[in-house]
């Protein structure tokens, strides 16, 4: 089947996955439902102030699927320290806050 025929018959389904975002004092945690992906095909791009998650499913027997979701991050995120894992069709992206924005306990010294 040539490319043109395939595009006509099977348009790329673009989906916006459902996402939860959690926060604690150390990080933001983004959790997305993106089933059926090869972990190597998942793109997590951090270009401050933007986080973009995108993935394409090719070669599946179904209509090819593309997931795209973009978030605006604030300056608290350290772009160098982003970790992602993928399990059971659920993507988790850990976005570490920059040290300067994490709470630090300051001891009060008696004079």
């Amino acid at each position: 089947m040539d490319q043109q025929t395939q595009e006509k018959n099977r348009p790329l389904r673009k989906l916006s996955p459902n996402v939860d975002v959690f926060e604690n004092e150390h990080e933001l945690l983004v959790v997305a439902d993106v089933p059926g992906l090869d972990p190597n095909e998942i793109g997590v791009h951090v270009e401050l102030p933007e986080l973009r998650i995108e993935a394409k499913v090719q070669g599946s027997p179904d209509t090819p699927v593309s997931y795209v979701r973009t978030f605006r991050l604030d300056e608290r995120i350290d772009a160098e320290r982003v970790q992602a894992d993928y399990k059971d069709g659920v993507l988790r992206v850990h976005l570490t806050k920059s040290a300067a924005f994490r709470p630090r306990r300051v001891a009060v010294q008696a004079s």
Binding site: N18, D20, D33, P35, P61, D62, G89
Partner: protein, 152 residues
């Protein structure tokens, strides 16, 4: 557990055509969900399910992200398959939620099959949140190749 028969009691091939309606429902869920997470909408969650007909088998594919194997029940008869699946989203210790779009759900759906299958030979696998169910057709339901012989 509630088993919901789809009111569009469709043969296998219309299952794929029913998808846009489910997609719309999902979008509506999301719109309303942004305003307020109404429990009644969570109940209507329907994962994406599609069927492919190969000559030898019907292959069902259901997207069930975050669902554990033990939380999936499949019942197959010669002409129908029922899928039940559920997931309960855990609350994360020590985190506050900034956004919640993912839902816990309990899903049950029966599908009438367009061909007779052999329930004994059904295979199910769950990989990266996708359930694949291969339902081999009985021999009579498989397409026959008819050889044309030239008349003598």
């Amino acid at each position: 557990m509630l088993v919901r028969f789809n009111d569009r009691s469709f043969p296998v091939f219309s299952a794929a055509r029913a998808f846009p309606a489910q997609s719309l429902r999902r979008e509506l869920d999301r719109l309303f969900g942004d305003l307020e997470r109404a429990p009644s909408f969570a109940d209507s969650f329907a994962p994406t399910v599609s069927f492919v007909d190969t000559a030898e088998a019907l292959v069902l594919r259901a997207e069930l992200p975050g669902v554990a194997e033990k939380d999936i029940d499949i019942d197959v008869t010669a002409n129908a398959v029922t899928i039940k699946a559920s997931r309960k989203l855990e609350t994360l210790e020590g985190y506050t939620a900034q956004r919640r779009e993912r839902q816990s759900f309990t899903f049950a759906q029966s599908y009438e099959l367009g061909a007779r299958v052999d329930p004994e030979r059904v295979q199910a696998s769950l990989k990266q949140g996708v359930l694949t169910l291969t339902l081999p057709k009985v021999a009579e339901a498989q397409p026959k190749k008819v050889t044309v012989t030239a008349a003598a």
